[in-house]
């Protein structure tokens, strides 16, 4: 029965080996996608290369469908897969700040690791900046602790929030992703033409 670790198929120490192997696959995929390169990541925000959106939504849809069917077949106890609690307002504000940092720095935490390990100095400096940002957050924590713990809604999933079945939400997310892919392909064509026109 899955998830295997929750059913004691292996020890904590072995889980660290699993972490390392899964990390290798994660890093490999990120690099293959071009995510060790800040120019490709930043291009997402200028619409001329939408790889970030395409890779992210394909990954989300793949894992989401896998979870849905494994749970439906009875192979997986979905309630044992850890879902973090929703703290709506801090998460929205944190997301906005993160998006701003993304465009300024050119990476997000995971991709900066790949960037640094493939020799990019901007990725290494970004990593140093990230450690500094986490440290500033830690030092400021007593001041923002109340806000950090505000609008706590508990473990809320979209099916529960929208009052729809799990399968229905999966279907809607797939539709949304397909729509986003079509828009991305169209946007790339338009923007590439425009950028070429600007340079001439």
């Amino acid at each position: 029965m899955m998830p295997y670790y929750k059913f004691d198929y292996f020890s904590f120490d072995f889980s660290l080996v699993v972490a390392f192997i899964i990390g290798i696959a994660f890093g490999f995929a990120l690099e293959r996608g071009g995510f060790g390169n800040a120019r490709i990541l930043a291009a997402q925000f200028y619409f001329y290369n939408m790889r970030v959106l395409k890779v992210m939504f394909t990954a989300i849809v793949t894992a989401m469908i896998g979870l849905f069917y494994f749970s439906w077949f009875g192979w997986l106890d979905l309630s044992l897969v850890y879902v973090s609690d929703t703290y709506l307002i801090p998460q929205i504000l944190g997301g906005l700040i993160l998006g701003i940092g993304f465009v300024i720095g050119g990476y997000c935490p995971g991709t900066s690791i790949v960037s640094a390990s493939t020799g990019r100095y901007d990725g290494m400096v970004y990593l140093a900046g990230m450690f500094f940002g986490v440290f500033v957050f830690g030092e400021m924590f007593p001041l923002i602790e109340n806000f950090y713990n505000s609008s706590h809604l508990g473990k809320v999933t979209l099916p529960k929030f929208l009052g729809l079945s799990h399968g229905m939400v999966v279907f809607l997310v797939v539709l949304m992703a397909l729509g986003a892919f079509a828009l991305a392909e169209w946007g790339e064509k338009v923007m590439t033409k425009k950028l070429q026109g600007d340079k001439q």
Binding site: F20, G23, G33, L93, I97, G105, G110, T118
Partner: protein
């Protein structure tokens, strides 16, 4: 031509000089499928998703507690990352995963001849300015990721696939923050 020499390499010695042009990045939908399967593997094997910024928190918390133990003990943020004292807090799932990410990225980049000491930047910005932006952006993102309780990996990817409300709100906020700022930073990238 390189594939042909690969097939015949048993009979012949290397005839031509190999060129090491960086290979183009892979098809994004295929990469997405691969990344989704990695995420799914984490879910079904471990019962948890992927992450990145959490490892940074552990390292910062451990460093602060080494330098100023009393100061760190008073802080609820740092305290969350201390273990019960029997094992090192660095013996953490995300820390090992992130080491793997560095190794995996290096492997992939090196196999495709993309590993290179360089600075990724737009044509209209100096290297020095780009590095300053990288540090500032990293710091802003480190702060934001802690406020949101995760980054693109832990919230957007993992929480997205688990259909968590907070993660989806976070994801749209990231894109909103990015698109709202992009115009002002176009000189850095375009």
């Amino acid at each position: 031509m390189t594939t042909l020499t690969g097939i015949f390499s048993k009979k012949e010695t290397i005839v031509e000089e190999k060129t090491f042009q960086p290979k183009p990045y892979s098809n994004p939908y295929l990469v997405g499928l691969g990344l989704g399967l990695v995420l799914l593997a984490a879910f079904v094997i471990m019962g948890r998703g992927l992450g990145a910024s959490g490892a940074a928190s552990t390292i910062v918390a451990v460093t602060v507690s080494k330098v100023a133990p009393e100061h760190a003990a008073k802080n609820n943020f740092y305290k969350e990352y201390f273990s019960d004292g029997t094992t090192s807090p660095l013996k953490d799932w995300l820390v090992f995963e992130v080491i793997g990410v560095a190794v995996g990225g290096f492997l992939s980049g090196t196999l495709a001849h993309r590993t290179k000491r360089t600075i990724e930047k737009g044509p209209n910005i100096s290297s020095k300015m780009r590095l300053i932006y990288a540090f500032v952006g990293g710091a802003i993102m480190g702060f934001g990721a802690k406020l949101a309780r995760g980054c693109t990996s832990g919230q957007a990817l993992t929480g997205g696939a688990l259909l968590s409300l907070g993660s989806w709100a976070f994801m749209f906020a990231v894109f909103a923050g990015g698109y709202l700022t992009a115009y002002f930073l176009r000189r850095q990238w375009l």
